[in-house]
């Protein structure tokens, strides 16, 4: 315990000294997130400095082993780093699907060679990954995916199409689910494979969304040649890897609402609806919605903390991330409904500088995908019902 308190004090001092003031302000646009990758650019000098200091410290991913470029911290220490970063409002120095999704799967299922090859490039921000899961006819029923990988000597030849591939147009590599045995039952013929998006035959096409942004792409594979050694885990057992990765993806999505919007909701609302002499919002219904939301938000934060602690204590249920994903995404949608209501007509502007290019309505529309991506709310409830509650039926 004394050691941990010492570690906390050192961490606090180090962050205080090394985190630039600009990197302690709430993020206001997509450009504030640093994703890394071959073609990346820093949006500011402070962003570069912060990233490089954290990378050199090993703290882009504090809890990964040092030999793979992580910080080698144990669960308690990593929690302290998170808490101390939160305490000063420090931004994540590096955000990537390599960290939140592929990394955990590689650590569990990857060969030593695969780990050594890919993990250090993730922690150093050199390679940006995308996720090739959904297909036009494989959404909630993901295991019905049709993208084919046919053996050809030491390689596979991959043909097919993925959809909703987040930032595929910026990604360097893809982790992809492909069907390697079309004769097997649908869960049993899938493999999890890695390849370079610069490979011949890969093309992407951004999809324009209701937000006016195009974070997702269609991704096409036309005779893409990939070495068989790029399969992670056992051939035809990719569903195990896919499910394990989804648990991490869901945990990540459930936490998305925790990225603060800066000012407290109560203050944001007071700006537009006004407040009485005691500071109470002039819109009683809105006040009550905000308060109810904040009760649930605080409770969810406690549950997220508890989920980590339970996992450390070996007491967590593997499907619990589905519960958190369901609640976190529904709550984030509520947050943005409140923000829109609190903003009134000011929150409807779509293009002006005043509205920072319609940042709020676009973010509001973006949240509607939270309860769809990574498994819909309905799929999450189904998983909880079957895997945790053990209710009968298909």
């Amino acid at each position: 315990m004394a050691d941990l308190e010492k570690f906390r004090a050192e961490t606090r001092a180090w962050l205080e000294q090394n985190c630039p003031a600009e990197m302690r302000k709430p993020m206001t646009s997509d450009g504030d997130t640093f994703w890394g990758g071959r073609n990346t650019k820093f949006s500011s000098e402070a962003q570069r400095v912060w990233f490089e200091r954290m990378r050199d410290k090993g703290w882009t991913v504090p809890h990964w082993p040092k030999e793979y470029g992580g910080g080698g911290l144990d669960g308690e220490e990593a929690k302290i780093v998170r808490q101390e970063m939160a305490a000063i409002g420090a931004r994540q120095p590096l955000t990537s699907f390599g960290i939140s999704m592929l990394g955990p799967a590689l650590l569990k299922y990857g060969t030593e060679e695969q780990k050594k090859e890919h993990l250090p490039k993730i922690t150093a921000g050199l390679i940006r990954w995308c996720q090739g899961y959904s297909e036009p006819n494989a959404g909630s029923d993901l295991a019905s995916l049709q993208t084919r990988a046919v053996g050809d000597g030491d390689d596979y030849i991959i043909n097919g199409q993925k959809i909703w591939t987040s930032y595929a147009n910026y990604a360097d590599w893809i982790f992809c689910l492909v069907r390697t045995d079309p004769a097997a039952k649908k869960h049993d013929g899938i493999s999890f494979i890695l390849f370079d998006m610069a490979s011949k035959g890969v093309s992407t096409k951004p999809i324009l969304l209701i937000s006016g942004y195009s974070p997702f792409c269609e991704t096409f594979f036309d005779n893409v040649r990939v070495p068989k050694s790029h399969v992670v885990g056992t051939v035809n057992r990719g569903w195990d890897v896919a499910k394990y990765l989804l648990q991490h993806e869901r945990a990540m999505i459930s936490g998305m609402g925790e990225r603060g919007v800066g000012r407290p909701l109560g203050q944001i609302a007071a700006d537009s609806v006004g407040a009485d002499a005691q500071g109470k919002l002039d819109d009683a219904q809105l006040r009550s919605q905000i308060a109810n939301f904040e009760v649930d938000e605080a409770a969810l934060a406690a549950a997220a903390e508890r989920a980590v602690d339970l996992a450390k204590a070996g007491q967590s249920h593997p499907a619990f991330s589905s519960a958190m994903k369901y609640y976190g995404t529904e709550l984030n949608k509520r947050r943005y409904e409140i923000l829109m209501s609190a903003g009134g007509i000011d929150a409807l502007e779509w293009e002006s500088d005043r509205s920072r290019g319609g940042a709020r309505p676009r973010a509001w529309l973006r949240t509607k995908a939270n309860s769809i991506e990574g498994g819909t709310s309905e799929v999450m409830l189904g998983i909880v019902a079957k895997r945790i509650l053990d209710l009968p039926g298909a």
Binding site: A270, L281, N292, A302, A303, G382, V384, L389, L391, P392
Partner: protein, 379 residues
């Protein structure tokens, strides 16, 4: 601090669960209700509680207790919630023990705390006056008279009021309803002249009383804490009570939910278990998630009460508000999913529904605590 129970806390839970599920299943409450028992709980079982060290859980070591914290008290309350055991634990061992420990003079502590720990003294906290919990609105008047005060006014919803050997009474000694200043807590002998206790039979078959004070004389050395400055002490004690009741509601919700899921697996209609229907699966899953999130919020509040009193008020409001809505949802889904059987007195589910409604009102319902949170954050 990790948001999981320590090994010692898990052992405490196991021993509380063992005792309570064995000696006081729901049938115990049903039996007391059907017999119209005049005490409303089992004195024999209370003796066992004392022998196992539960009654003095929050009493400091030097006064014969175990000197444990709110997390431990919450653990016992959660087990009480699972079987709806009627027990002096909340009023005596949580509320009165906290009030005396935090606000009592050395003499007051020495006089009362050892008796709470050994189970020989029962106490009750008299706060509410109107239909809703509004401690700031306290009107019961304390007027200076001779070497002390005279109390006049009414109290309601006094848990265990009719069996108490000692009352802790919130009274207004200065200012007017709504003021933080001017509240004083008094230790009052229920046998004092001018004091009338009426036991009120409540929907949940648990103990409560209305108490009328007519010029009840209280000596100045029976003031608990400071004259006119009792609100902070009272709020601190109430927050502990709120955390404890929130724990009771977690136990209650979890038990109702467990019984309901079992029923979903057993009950067959249209040739299959009703738990196969997606309409019910999703509702059950949502309720499970609600309970687990509330459980974390309640544990967070109990830990804050033990360690971080500055943050505790907000955490307690979150916990009590969440526990109230979660328990309400749990008992309603419980009855609905049990169908007609859930409406029968023969099934236990109805007892949980009744108790949940009372726990909602105890020390502020979800609306009260949500409003507290908003006001605390300045909107």
């Amino acid at each position: 601090m990790a948001l999981v129970l320590t090994e010692e806390q898990s052992m405490l839970r196991d021993s509380a669960r063992g005792l309570i599920s064995d000696k006081a299943p729901v049938a115990h409450l049903r039996g007391l209700r059907d017999a119209k028992d005049t005490i409303g709980f089992s004195r024999e079982l209370w003796k066992t509680f004392a022998e196992m060290g539960f009654s003095g859980l929050l009493v400091p070591d030097q006064f014969g207790g175990s000197g444990l914290g709110c997390v431990e008290a919450g653990i016992v309350m959660e087990e009480i919630g699972r079987t709806l055991m009627p027990s002096p634990f909340l009023a005596t061992s949580v509320l009165a023990a906290s009030a005396l420990t935090r606000g009592g003079s050395e003499a007051q502590k020495a006089q009362h705390l050892p008796k709470i720990a050994d189970g020989s003294l029962l106490a009750a906290l008299a706060i509410d006056e109107g239909a809703k919990h509004r401690p700031l609105q306290t009107k019961l008047q304390a007027t200076r008279a001779g070497n002390g005060f005279k109390l006049s006014g009414d109290k309601a919803f006094v848990v265990d009021g009719h069996t108490a050997d000692l009352l802790i009474v919130a009274a207004r000694s200065a200012g007017s309803a709504g003021d933080k200043n001017g509240l004083t807590l008094f230790l009052v002998d229920p046998r004092a002249k001018g004091l009338t206790v009426e036991r009120t039979a409540m929907v949940d078959s648990h103990n409560a009383a209305r108490i009328v004070f007519e010029n009840v004389e209280v000596n100045a050395d029976h003031v608990l804490g400071e004259v006119d400055q009792g609100f902070a002490l009272l709020e601190g004690v109430l927050n502990i009570g709120r955390g404890a009741v929130a724990s009771e509601m977690v136990g209650l919700s979890d038990e109702v939910f467990g019984r309901t899921v079992t029923y979903l697996k057993e009950r067959k209609q249209f040739g299959k278990a009703i738990g196969e229907f997606q309409a019910l699966q999703h509702r059950a899953a949502e309720l499970y998630i609600d309970i687990e999130i509330t459980r974390a919020a309640v544990l967070k509040a109990l830990q804050a009460l033990d360690t971080d009193t500055a943050k505790a008020a907000t955490a307690v409001s979150v916990a009590k508000a969440r526990a109230g809505t979660t328990a309400t949802r749990a008992v309603q889904e419980g009855v609905q999913m049990h169908g007609g059987m859930g409406m029968t007195d023969q099934f236990d589910i109805g007892f949980f529904m009744k108790r949940a409604r009372v726990c909602q009102e105890l020390f502020g319902d979800s609306n009260f605590h949500t409003d507290q949170l908003a006001s605390g954050k300045g909107y």
